[in-house]
């Protein structure tokens, strides 16, 4: 691995990790605040991308960057207010199921409205093209923009939660809802805002991820599993943990692609010859690069075995 490849891969890994963080932060937030594991989270991501596509066609990309997450916020809040709140009293499983159902509903609606094919959602002129060139490989502005927005988002969410009155109320409502209610705060409304806010964060990720990658109906399903990995590995409900886990997974996946080593090399190193007659040859010949995209799931299993609360998680249950 030469330095050129190392630096490029580092940048790729970090920018992919930051997109994962944008995606999973809302899920983490909702889970830590309300204890609801939102299965429809990536559907809000998809909605963000599609809304941004439609809105940017009318008023341009920059207003869409603000408007699309706002629309998703309203939808998320409305879902909490009129649906999730009603099933809340029946416990966790119905809550989970209703979000699961919502994800199917959103998928069908998206296919009805925008069709099943890819939509041509592109970035504005200012964000196209390379930002800088390293050893002849360009680093696109779009990816830098993802990194910038993710960092801004992290900082503002953190400031909101720790430095403002609203943040104070949100945090208190999480731990002592009765006390907060007795003090005259509207706790159900706080929950509604938190759910909407989490959905809006996913929507924002969609606005940016939708054109960095491809906007199509399968986009929600394809990132669905990976963000659960991020949330579990980072520690259920820990924003900092999600941040750490996203970067880690982004980097692991990126660098693993470069490693063309398999178990055969390991056996060779200890002096055991492996041929295609050896038992389990198809498994032995798999290289690390071939399994790179599924490494996060291996990571997930290992974390669940050795540190069930996740890297920075605090919940023991």
């Amino acid at each position: 691995m030469n330095p050129e490849f190392f630096v490029i891969s580092l940048l790729n890994g970090v920018s992919y990790g930051l997109l994962l963080f944008m995606l999973s932060s809302g899920l983490t937030l909702i889970f830590s605040m309300m204890g609801v594991l939102n299965f429809a989270h990536t559907s809000f991501y998809m909605l963000g991308a599609y809304f941004a596509f439609t809105i940017s066609g009318v008023v341009g990309f920059w207003p869409a960057l603000v408007l699309a997450p706002l629309v998703v916020f309203v939808l998320g809040a409305a879902f909490e207010r009129y649906c999730l709140r009603r099933v809340h009293k029946f416990g966790h499983v119905p809550e989970l199921l209703v979000t699961f159902g919502l994800s199917y509903l959103i998928l069908e609606v998206v296919q009805l409205v925008w069709g099943r094919s890819t939509v041509p959602y592109g970035l504005p002129e200012q964000l196209q093209g390379p930002l800088f060139s390293l050893y002849g490989t360009q680093f696109p502005k779009s990816r830098s923009f993802v990194m910038l927005v993710a960092m801004l988002m992290l900082v503002s969410v953190w400031l909101l939660l720790t430095r403002t009155r609203i943040g104070l109320v949100i945090q208190a409502a999480l731990k002592y809802p009765d006390m907060v209610e007795a003090l005259g705060h509207n706790v159900p409304r706080v929950f509604m805002l938190v759910f909407g806010g989490g959905a809006a964060l996913a929507g924002l990720a969609g606005v940016i991820g939708g054109n960095t990658y491809v906007t199509e109906p399968a986009m929600a399903g394809s990132v669905g599993s990976i963000i659960f990995v991020v949330v579990v590995v980072g520690g259920m409900g820990s924003l900092a943990g999600a941040f750490l886990a996203s970067l880690l997974i982004g980097l692991v996946q990126t660098f693993a692609v470069a490693l063309d080593y398999s178990l055969i090399h390991v056996f060779k190193a200890v002096g055991v010859a492996v041929t295609d007659q050896t038992f389990g040859y198809p498994l032995l010949k798999l290289t690390i690069s071939q399994v790179a995209p599924i490494l996060p799931y291996l990571f997930l299993v290992l974390i669940l075995i050795f540190r069930p609360k996740g890297l920075l998680g605090t919940r023991e249950d």
């Binding site: 891969s9 099943r116 094919s117 890819t118 041509p120 490989t137 696109p140 990658y213 692609v257």
Partner: protein, 410 residues
């Protein structure tokens, strides 16, 4: 104009009345079993629409005078679901089945039909495979009831390597494919055939990645760049091709050419856009700007659905069925299967022949390149303003590959 159509219709009716064929006026039900949900839903939906649209066109006039009716059933891209979808299609009276996405479901249909047709004489069902390209389907696993209208992986690679061998700039080739049977075969045939034609070409990479799992292809692009490759051969389709090319565009990998199988399939044209112009090649039996009857279909389809009609094999299917019915003077699959064997007909890519030994259509192949649409090639892909412009046409014998099929005939 209206008068002209009427006149043509009248003369067609008169001409066919003279023949007094047994099948005239019959309705032929064709079951379409492909994905309408999940990862490949966009591709499946497009192809179902293609079948329905072209069926309407053929219902206006076809040499056999039959009416086609399409029954579309979602097989969820799974061999298991395909078998039950096939059962339901046969219950609805379909005696012709078409399928194309994935060789797994294709094999499931072939297995099921072998048994069904042996046990139910008089109720045989025929299978027209319009896109499943695993060479095994017409070699070790060939079946009398299966007819393939697409060119298989080995045929396409034969044409592609024949084109690439004359390019002096091709020195270092990188293979990146999906880690399942199709990807393995593209990689295998690329190495074998290139070795034979250009032993000096080096293979500097052979990556296999999980199917539809990779969101970010930039690590692979960094790897391709590091390897010093000048060409990439890939059999990727769907989002795996779209994201690969998009990542290459983003990284400014503009001194590497991509040789693809499925550049025109839903999603990829949008992802390629202007940035990939002149750098992406495709091997296929068709392109968007073919002349003749297909041209009208492509234009009308785009007008009606605002989508591309890229599966030319659908046209093959209806032409072959119509001519097969005429030749057999019947729509009975047993008689039609016999008529199909060795049948030659004229299609959009020259004269094609359904080879008797393995039921693989022998057809001409095009090598085309992603360029700005216009001039002689005005029809673009996915409204991008760009299209695959044909560079070279190979006659059927060039791309033809031998078969090892030992067919059991009833």
């Amino acid at each position: 104009m209206k008068f002209a159509i009427k006149a043509v219709a009248a003369s067609v009716i008169l001409a066919s009345a003279g023949g007094a064929f047994a099948q005239k006026g019959e309705t032929v039900k064709i079951a379409w079993l492909d994905p309408l949900s999940g990862l490949m839903a966009a591709v499946g939906t497009n192809q179902l629409k293609s079948f329905q649209f072209i069926a309407e066109e053929f219902n206006k006039k076809n040499s056999a005078g039959v009416k086609f009716e399409i029954i579309g059933i979602d097989n969820k891209l799974s061999p298991q679901e395909t078998t039950s979808a096939l059962r339901s299609a046969m219950d609805q009276g379909a005696r012709y089945v078409v399928q194309g996405n994935g060789s797994g479901p294709a094999l499931a249909i072939m297995d099921a039909l072998e048994k069904h047709n042996a046990r139910n004489p008089g109720k045989e069902v025929l299978f027209l495979n319009y896109a499943a390209v695993d060479p095994d389907l017409t070699n070790s696993k060939c079946s009398y009831w299966h007819f393939r209208l697409d060119a298989d992986t080995s045929m396409k690679m034969e044409a592609l390597t024949t084109y690439m061998k004359d390019l002096p700039e091709v020195k270092k080739v990188y293979l990146i494919n999906q880690n399942y049977s199709h990807g393995h075969q593209v990689s295998k045939f690329a190495k074998e055939m290139m070795q034979r034609k250009r032993p000096d070409v080096q293979f500097v990479g052979d990556d296999l990645h999980p199917l539809a799992q990779v969101r970010d292809f930039s690590p692979y692009i960094a790897k391709i760049k590091q390897s010093g490759a000048d060409s990439v051969i890939t059999g990727n389709w769907g989002s795996d091709l779209a994201l690969l090319i998009k990542a290459a565009n983003d990284a400014g990998l503009n001194n590497v050419n991509f040789y693809t199988y499925y550049g025109s399939v839903t999603g990829s044209p949008t992802a390629m856009g202007p940035a990939a112009a002149g750098r992406v090649y495709m091997v296929a039996y068709a392109h968007m700007n073919l002349p003749g009857e297909l041209n009208k279909i492509v234009v009308d389809y785009k007008k009606k659905f605002n989508d591309d009609m890229y599966t030319g094999a659908v046209y093959h299917a209806f032409t072959m069925l119509s001519e097969g019915f005429t030749k057999a003077k019947s729509t009975d699959p047993v008689k039609v299967a016999a008529a199909f064997e060795g049948m030659k007909f004229k299609s959009f890519n020259g004269e094609v022949e359904m080879r008797k030994t393995d039921h693989q259509l022998q057809q001409g192949l095009f090598i085309s390149k992603w360029e700005k649409a216009g001039g002689k090639f005005p029809i673009d892909s996915e409204n991008t303003g760009y299209t695959f412009v044909p560079l070279k046409y190979y006659e059927p014998y060039v791309a033809s590959t031998p078969t090892s099929c030992q067919m059991k005939r009833p």
